[in-house]
Symmetry: C2
Subunit: 406 residues, 2 copies
């Protein structure tokens, strides 16, 4: 309910013409400062139903089950789903076995009703995907990337990859992106802190010329579609949240810890990504866990990142995992999260060592506290780096399903 910016998908570009009935059906038009009108009510309930339809996946879900899960009356669900069917977002898909009366009709989401582009800008590579409404990858592309080649070149590279993907998979009549009626927009994930709300980069590690570059507006102007930018760890976390990790009842909270050439985190609280006041939350790597410890690249001493990567460089994976676990335990204690997911190249190189090592620290902490249940579970994040581009695309899909900023 507390969404300061109007939904998170706003850009400087012109508003969508609500073509095809998708944009207009679910666009949460909420009052400037929290006041909710009937449109907002409808949007909220529609998003809730859509989210359940998405979670149900291919096997679908019945109207009555939707009513139970949402708390709405069956008749309200019928009206909402009728609207969704009319808009092409949902469809009937067979029926359940009877329990003595008329069998329940099963509804499912129509994946082709909406698409989103996601781009992951890494240090040396660009990875772009086109996903449908359920998050399945429809098409993908890779290209080498030189962040040092200047803003115009990178923007052009991203735009061209996006256009090619959309042209291949959506076959628009005249080649313009906007002509594809189901394209919701483009999400971009990249390393380093940035202003998610305004779409402006702060610091791209190693490339100071990017400081303050308004990437979102530049891409929105170039492509004429809504654009959202976010940190790579946030995109990865969002992708994991949508994929069902820690989504127990849709209100799960977990931390995704990414250990690659750096160490960052994405926090999911209550089903949505927590970005904080200045969208700078998740600065996990420069958490100090060793006062006056070895110097870190950030200028401080004893950061988890420095200690952990130092241990990795020495080949001491047990120590690396222990250090990472200490940071994870601090995080788990502060936020009382449900789950810790580990990812990134360094973790992928020795998954068991990290999962076990971090898990051991968290289990020890739980025992000290009078352990009920054995502590916060630790798992390997499925998908690896592959998921970042998909998570970036989810930045556009999330608002449809009521997963705005927490």
């Amino acid at each position: 309910m507390n969404s300061a910016n109007g939904g998170g998908t706003g850009t400087g570009a012109s508003p969508a013409e609500s073509g095809g009935g998708l944009g207009g059906a679910v666009e949460g038009v909420r009052g400037a400062a929290g006041g909710a009108n009937l449109l907002a009510l409808r949007s909220h309930n529609t998003a809730l139903v859509l989210d359940l339809l998405r979670t149900a996946g291919a096997e679908g879900i019945s109207r009555l089950e939707l009513a139970e899960r949402t708390g709405l009356t069956p008749q309200a669900v019928s009206k909402i789903t009728a609207r969704l069917r009319a808009d092409g977002l949902a469809a009937e898909a067979g029926r359940r076995a009877s329990t003595g009366g008329k069998p329940r009709t099963v509804l499912r989401l129509v994946p082709q009703a909406g698409h989103a582009l996601g781009v992951h800008l890494d240090r040396d590579e660009l990875r772009a995907v086109l996903v449908d409404l359920v998050g399945a990858v429809v098409a993908q592309r890779r290209a080498p990337l030189g962040l040092g080649a200047g803003a115009d070149a990178v923007v052009e590279g991203v735009a061209r990859a996006a256009e090619e993907l959309a042209a291949d998979a959506l076959r628009p009549p005249d080649g313009a992106l906007r002509a594809a009626p189901t394209l919701l927009g483009l999400g971009v994930a990249l390393p380093g802190p940035l202003d998610h709300a305004r779409g402006v980069l702060h610091r791209v590690t190693g490339f100071p010329e990017w400081d303050g570059f308004p990437l979102r507006d530049a891409l929105a102007r170039r492509l004429d579609v809504p654009v959202v930018v976010d940190k790579d760890t946030n995109a990865a976390a969002l992708g994991l949240a949508v994929a069902g990790e820690g989504a127990r009842g849709g209100a799960g909270s977990f931390a995704y810890l990414h250990l690659g050439t750096g160490l960052g985190a994405g926090l999911v609280i209550g089903g949505g990504v927590h970005r904080g006041a200045r969208t700078g939350a998740g600065e996990f790597g420069h958490q100090v866990i060793q006062l006056d410890g070895p110097p870190c690249t950030c200028g401080a001493r004893g950061c988890v990142e420095a200690l952990c990567l130092g241990a990795v460089a020495r080949g001491d994976l047990d120590e690396a995992a222990r250090v990472l676990g200490a940071g994870a335990a601090n995080l788990a204690g502060l936020l009382d999260i449900d789950l810790v997911l580990l990812g990134g190249r360094t973790v992928a190189a020795a998954p068991e060592a990290f999962v076990h090592g971090v898990g051991a620290v968290l289990a020890a902490r739980a025992r000290r506290e009078g352990g009920q249940g054995g502590g916060v579970p630790v798992r390997l994040a499925p998908g690896g780096t592959r998921g970042v581009a998909e998570g970036a695309a989810q930045l556009l899909l999330a608002p449809l399903f009521g997963r705005g900023d927490a």
Copy 2:
């Protein structure tokens, strides 16, 4: 929007008879799992208006200003405020200067329209307050407390203090608490982890006999009013949030760090207290910031609490502040909060040393990050320990103003 329990004030006791129009007017009856109906819509908007009325305080606020701030139409605000006036919750209070037309009528909250009891159980003392709708203390009481005297004695002591306060200040006809039509309930704050949702204590430091005691239900049965229990740090943080600390536009987020005989934190995110999945969030004191450091009472090594209190014991306040600052910087980086507030007896003994020391660490961190604005501000929490009982009372008032669990 994600409130698993129905509003946070539910108890095992019978529901309020909605007498006087206060209970029925604002009780957020939301669907079981997020589905919102018209009643929920009304509750939401009413709470929003009440919150703005409370924030406006004695000087009041006009209908049009309410409309601007909420995003609702003036007519909707008129309807809502008419209902509030009919229920006795709001009243007209003069008018503004004219700007060329009819002057605006100023509305204000009627403080006497509602009351809540708050009790702070400390190690050796019980402190109870009765506050009105705006949070002003109407009456208060102190009593010695022996947590070792057994559950029945403590429950009886709390109940008696509550009854005396209510009898003195509310003058109920027959001495029964329920007879006081404006009493919303009782909030209890005490140290140590507990289950806020169920009202069950986990561990009260030094008194293992309290483990698992269902304090909320015991008090609710004894007094026959709604009861909410919470950690003392959460209550203090809630009290500070209501008092306007960090409430820039009602969506502020800050951390309250309490340094007394222990070290704990209360987190306010988006105007509401963040408690986490198992209501165990805010475990700040046992954050490890010195791997393999000196042993802590919790069994781990290098906890902030151990390091900080150790430095205090040595008389090295600069080091204590530096250590506390390191923990605060970790927290600020993870959550990207707006403000850090310091409180507790140990801080109160040397406020400047801690405020400056912690502030220096946060400022240094901001400089390393390319400082825009000088880092997260650090201030002394006003009110000191006095605020905990008032914050406990706010546990009952918060739902009226839309400040449920974040």
